[in-house]
Symmetry: D2
């Protein structure tokens, strides 16, 4: 099982009046992790966009386990749960880096769409090939 | 089946470079709807917070059906799917107000917690009573 | 002196760990007010965008006077401070609606640009005409 | 003249429908830079907060020079422009890291306040001492 990991330090504007990271910001954190994963794979989002593709989100889910706070350093793990013809399901796990405490976990289902026709298309094979190494069911 | 409805006009900062509402912002929209629902019930979030309670999110889920764009007027419906001892599950449906096109639907599971002891507590009975009118399974 | 006024209720995701509206969100509030002002004038942002124009911000400034909190109802006033060939300067004043306490004030300088050539152009005369009624120096 | 520098890669949720970083997000970027500057100085925001202080923003200003886009790597420079008894003025310059093109520049005036009495206090001398090395007028 191959997992991509990255870290993120919680910034002040991530927090809300409960003095914890606002729940919606975990979805931004998932997306940022996906971007870094693509960079790691040598698949830049920008090159995908320039070819006229777009990566709309189909579903997003998160379970919140332990609040994280301003200044926390989080470790986010990404793995590929499912590759279908037109969609990819990523799984994300967020932990506090120093204590390994589970903060949140969730998944996001992403499609590949053609920007002009605004319809889902098959995921380009070069992407599928690179993602397979990170797949685990 | 009783449903609470409100409207929201998409502002520029809700959008992303795909020229649609960023997927994380639907969770902010759900929360805003929940706040207006509480106001409608005469249960202000602030009075709850002042009594030392806090309403952490336990789970959040959204399915994205049709993109919405800058300037769109959205109609958001909230219903209560489940009331447990310590959690409430809200269901949200987002449509374009003028065409009734389904934009997104999802749910959020909210707990009631005591701010001092940072533990889930039973949902106060006055809240349960008011929510029951909006419950449908 | 003619001023455009609108109201806004502070939502949970506007706040930060100091339990006040995050300072960057006042700029989002200014922009939202500008959008409603355009609607009020019968000048939709969308129609401007569809004609191939774009309204980039050149400068933004805000002074923070009194924190605002979750649930506060704010009254935002917009007036036009200056109309130049290629830029408009809006002034914004944010108060608490119930007490009239000054929360923040600032300004934003907006240009009109052609999306294709990505250069500033003269503000279309129909916009200038409508803005003049709200100008005061 | 001593300047603190850091880098930041533009993430998808930073952008808006003009396909550039939303103007309000530069203020979040300034704040993130200030946080990293404090870490660099060995002055954690959290330790300041734990001592009962709070760092409210008094003024914020930004001039936008060149749009930045998704995936851009930005270099942000922070310098200290002014240290008064109760306020610090930081200056920020944002450039594209690869081309050195100026993206934005601005300043933020920050006060130190006592959280309990909610009033500005003199900046603690240990902070003043460390900031002086980065001051230039």
């Amino acid at each position: 099982m191959t997992v991509f990991k990255t870290t993120y330090r919680v910034t002040w504007s991530d927090t809300d009046a409960a003095q914890v990271v606002h729940h919606s910001n975990y979805f931004r954190l998932f997306e940022r992790t996906e971007e870094e994963f693509y960079e790691h794979l040598g698949l830049s989002f920008n090159s995908i966009i320039e070819r006229g593709y777009w990566l709309p989100r189909i579903e997003a889910f998160c379970q919140y386990k332990t609040p994280s706070r301003f200044g926390d350093v989080l470790e986010i793990s990404l793995s590929v749960k499912e590759i279908k013809e037109k969609t990819i399901k990523y799984r994300f796990v967020v932990k506090k880096k120093d204590t390994d405490v589970l903060v949140a976990e969730g998944y996001v289902v992403v499609a590949t769409a053609d920007k002009k026709i605004r319809k889902a298309i098959n995921i380009p094979s070069e992407i599928v090939e690179k993602l397979k190494a990170f797949q685990n069911s």
